[in-house]
């Protein structure tokens, strides 16, 4: 398996690939992933120019460990195949397919990516795929989409188009997104891929954004798409485990390691019943704490 499939992706920042001022150094804000956009942000008559801009940015700019995801144009457009050639040749880490409605859509992208890797003599399987789900049909097929390709690391909800399809709109309460969020995060967990929430576009309402992130964090999402670097720290803060959680997880991991050696299956930590089922979760908390720069221990 491509080791990057499971990397930390709390924040994925959208950037118009056609704007040199935006793509030259977004890494200074330290998002986990960058989403270089060839789709909606780029005007129809600038699709060609955006690719050159993207290609040279990918080749020349050191993004300092931020994952470089390229959002290609949809499969219904005449652009997506050249988008994939350009992004793969440039050395992107992943392709994001918009408007995904079926496993077949993902497979089309997978084939094009494989062909591009071959054409540009790149190791097969390096470039990952993520699928954005933007319709009721896509949400209902989340599970098959998650399982469509070995390259697929996750699915993302795109709330704007989805709510239109649902005959509603973004309300700020999250009510309109409830079903999709729940369905997608369950599908992702069931299939072992990651799940990302939609953007929050009201930059004047940072408190609303914070509440939105707290909600999706509790729902089990792995991260959120963001539209402005001001949103990064808030997401990272919410996704950073608390000191209490870290200490507890550390104890759980150590105790399970020890008790397993002693052949004991169930025991207590801080008065709580613990068994092997807690192990992965505790490990994940430690990994997240490490990535967030708050873990100083030796696990």
């Amino acid at each position: 398996m491509n080791p990057n499939k499971k990397r930390l992706r709390r924040t994925m920042m959208f950037l118009n690939a056609q704007k040199p001022g935006l793509i030259k150094d977004p890494y200074i804000y330290a998002p986990d992933s960058l989403m270089l956009d060839l789709e909606d942000a780029v005007a129809e008559n600038q699709k060609d120019a955006a690719r050159f801009s993207l290609y040279h940015a990918l080749k020349n700019i050191d993004y300092k460990g931020c994952e470089r995801v390229v959002r290609i144009n949809g499969l219904e457009t005449p652009f997506w195949q050249e988008d994939i050639r350009c992004a793969v040749a440039g050395g992107c880490d992943a392709i994001r397919l918009p408007k995904t409605e079926s496993a077949g859509d993902v497979k089309k992208v997978e084939d094009a990516v494989t062909a591009a890797e071959k054409e540009f003599s790149l190791p097969e399987g390096r470039v990952l795929i993520m699928a954005a789900i933007e319709s009721a049909r896509g949400v209902m097929r989340a599970m098959e989409i998650c399982e469509a390709s070995e390259r697929l690391f996750g699915i993302a909800l795109s709330g704007g188009d989805y709510t239109k399809d649902l005959h509603t709109h973004i309300t700020g309460t999250g009510i309109e997104l409830m079903g999709a969020r729940q369905n997608m995060v369950i599908a992702a967990r069931a299939t072992g891929v990651q799940c990302f929430d939609t953007v929050y576009t009201d930059l004047d309402n940072m408190e609303g954004f914070r509440q939105d992130v707290e909600t999706i964090h509790l729902m089990g999402f792995d991260g959120k798409s963001i539209v402005n670097p001001r949103q990064i720290n808030i997401v990272h803060e919410i996704f950073t485990p608390s000191e209490k959680e870290i200490i507890f997880s550390e104890k759980v991991v150590r105790e399970i390691d020890k008790k397993r050696a002693e052949g004991i299956g169930v025991f207590t930590v801080d008065g709580k019943m613990i068994d092997i089922a807690f192990y992965d979760g505790a490990k994940r908390t430690i990994d997240l704490a490490k990535a967030s720069g708050v873990y100083k221990g030796d696990l």
Binding site: I28, N228, P229
Partner: protein, 519 residues
């Protein structure tokens, strides 16, 4: 001769100006001199009014002639009408060879280029120039040398007699018929008249120009009638829209917010951040954002500021309103909130001399803990350039930069690492305006560098979680992104000097040369 910041100062310039090269910040500490004095024409009669009919009449009564030096202030900033009005009249009278000694000149004064070209104006002394005047000087159109001096440096030059003001013009938002001037009230409210106070004391002739004549006495006067010869009333002395703007909306630019946050974190981790500290900041987005975030931490930790100095803007005046500072010492107001704040009894007007002159018995900048400044360029020796643009053209002003930087215990410069493509942190600045010995910390969006001469600050930041780098590392990052910049091509002729605040020569500015491809 090479000066203390490593700049070669040509011998002929030293001879021509009679100046020394810069020897370091404290070279003149303890220096003794006799102050210059002003010619004074006594008014003993009781006829009651100093109001005369026109600027023309004032010029005639003051004995305007070729070769005189005229003083102006820049409290009206880009909204100033005074300099242009006076110079238009001087030009009409056919007077030549005038030296303009202004506290600063800006884009409002583009029309002066015509008078530079025809020899009406042959010398300019100012904190800086922008726009067309800068282009004219850098293209060699000014007959004499342009002298760029700091706010404190101007007061020093006048008080020592290095410059003698023949006539000074004081644009006064309100004035009475006997010459009591105030910076507040009227249509062109600018708050204070700090830069003109030295003109009142040292110019032979002082002319107040107002568009709002008020009944006597216009008290408390900012410039007293005892110093004013004539009062001229005109329709408009400035454009209020450009004098004091509405308070700038706090920035939402994450790059600036990030630098502001670094700055605040740095400040609060120094030993100077304690109850009773003092602080000055500029008007840039990052500086303002930093003041706002600092005020939050002050509140959380129960720390009060003893005094703030300005160049004031709303966030500083808010500290006064929220009772987080004991006093504001004011030399200039940048927005309407600051102008309004002048009425507060804890908001004190100070003269430019009190503020920043190195040649008096101690200026308030010497009592500063922190100053937060901007810069166009800063080099690996921490020298700053705030006057000459990346195209080699004079396009900025020293203002109080060298004065506050020298005075403050902790001088912080904030700049994005790249200004467009141009690296702000570089190997050698185009022109030195503020010596590196004055600069303690450089904060950029890519990291923070502490001047190695400040081992004490390096020590106290040891465990602080900020992206510290060496200044060379910052330069290297900038060059790795933008490429190594080539130096601006200058001609041989020196068109201006950058004067140190003590009157020594910090650097020279040469005429620009049109760019030519090298291959």
């Amino acid at each position: 001769m090479i000066n203390a910041v490593g700049r070669e100062i040509p011998e002929d310039i030293l001879e021509m100006t009679g100046k020394e090269v810069f020897h370091g910040n404290n070279y003149f500490d303890g220096h003794v001199f006799q102050k210059a004095g002003a010619y004074t024409k006594c008014v003993i009669n009781s006829h009651g009014s100093k109001v005369i009919g026109s600027i023309h009449e004032a010029l005639v009564k003051c004995g305007i002639k070729d070769g005189m030096t005229l003083g102006f202030h820049h409290h009206f900033r880009d909204g100033d009408y005074i300099v242009n009005m006076v110079m238009e009249e001087v030009h009409k009278m056919g007077i030549k060879d005038i030296t303009i000694c202004a506290s600063s000149l800006g884009k409002a004064h583009d029309p002066l280029v015509e008078y530079i070209e025809d020899g009406t104006i042959t010398n300019i002394q100012s904190s800086g120039v922008r726009g067309k005047i800068g282009e004219a000087i850098s293209n060699g159109k000014l007959k004499g040398l342009a002298i760029m001096r700091s706010h404190g440096g101007r007061v020093r030059a006048i008080e020592t007699g290095e410059v003698h003001l023949d006539i000074s013009f004081i644009g006064a938002p309100t004035c009475d018929d006997y010459g009591n001037c105030r910076g507040i009230g009227g249509k062109s409210n600018c708050g204070v008249l700090s830069y003109s106070m030295v003109d009142g004391d040292y110019a032979d002739h002082v002319v107040a120009i107002t568009d709002c004549l008020v009944p006597f006495p216009n008290f408390p006067a900012h410039i007293s009638m005892t110093k004013v010869d004539y009062v001229v009333v005109v329709d408009e002395i400035g454009d209020p829209e450009k004098i004091a703007t509405g308070a700038a909306k706090p920035t939402t630019d994450m790059r600036k917010l990030m630098m502001a946050d670094y700055c605040t974190q740095f400040v609060v981790n120094t030993p100077y951040f304690k109850d009773g500290f003092s602080y000055q900041t500029g008007v840039g987005g990052a500086s303002i954002a930093s003041t706002i975030s600092l005020s939050k931490i002050m509140k959380e930790r129960g720390i009060r500021m003893r005094f703030g100095i300005g160049g004031l803007t709303k966030p500083m005046c808010d500290l006064l309103i929220n009772d987080q500072v004991d006093a504001l010492l004011d030399t200039q107001d940048f927005d309407l909130a600051a102008v309004e704040s002048v009425k507060d009894l804890r908001h004190f007007r100070i003269s430019a001399g009190q503020y920043a002159s190195p040649f008096n018995k101690g200026a308030v900048v010497n009592k500063l803990d922190f100053v937060i400044l901007a810069t166009l360029e800063v080099d690996v020796n921490f020298n700053c350039n705030v006057v000459v643009g990346s195209d080699g053209v004079i396009t900025g002003a020293q203002g109080g930069h060298p004065d506050t930087a020298a005075g403050a215990k902790c001088t912080i410069v904030i700049t994005p690492l790249l200004q467009g493509r141009t690296p702000a942190v570089c190997t050698e600045v185009t022109t030195v305006t503020t010596p590196g010995e004055s600069i303690d910390v450089v904060i950029t969006d890519y990291g923070i560098a502490i001047n190695p001469i400040r081992q004490d600050l390096i020590e106290c930041m040891k465990d602080v979680d900020l992206p510290f780098k060496t200044i060379e590392e910052l330069r290297d990052i900038a060059y790795s992104i933008a490429g190594k910049p080539q130096k601006v091509q200058f001609g041989d002729r020196v068109v201006g000097i950058i004067e140190g605040r003590d009157g020594t020569i910090m650097d020279v500015v040469r005429q620009i040369k049109p760019f030519e491809f090298s291959e």
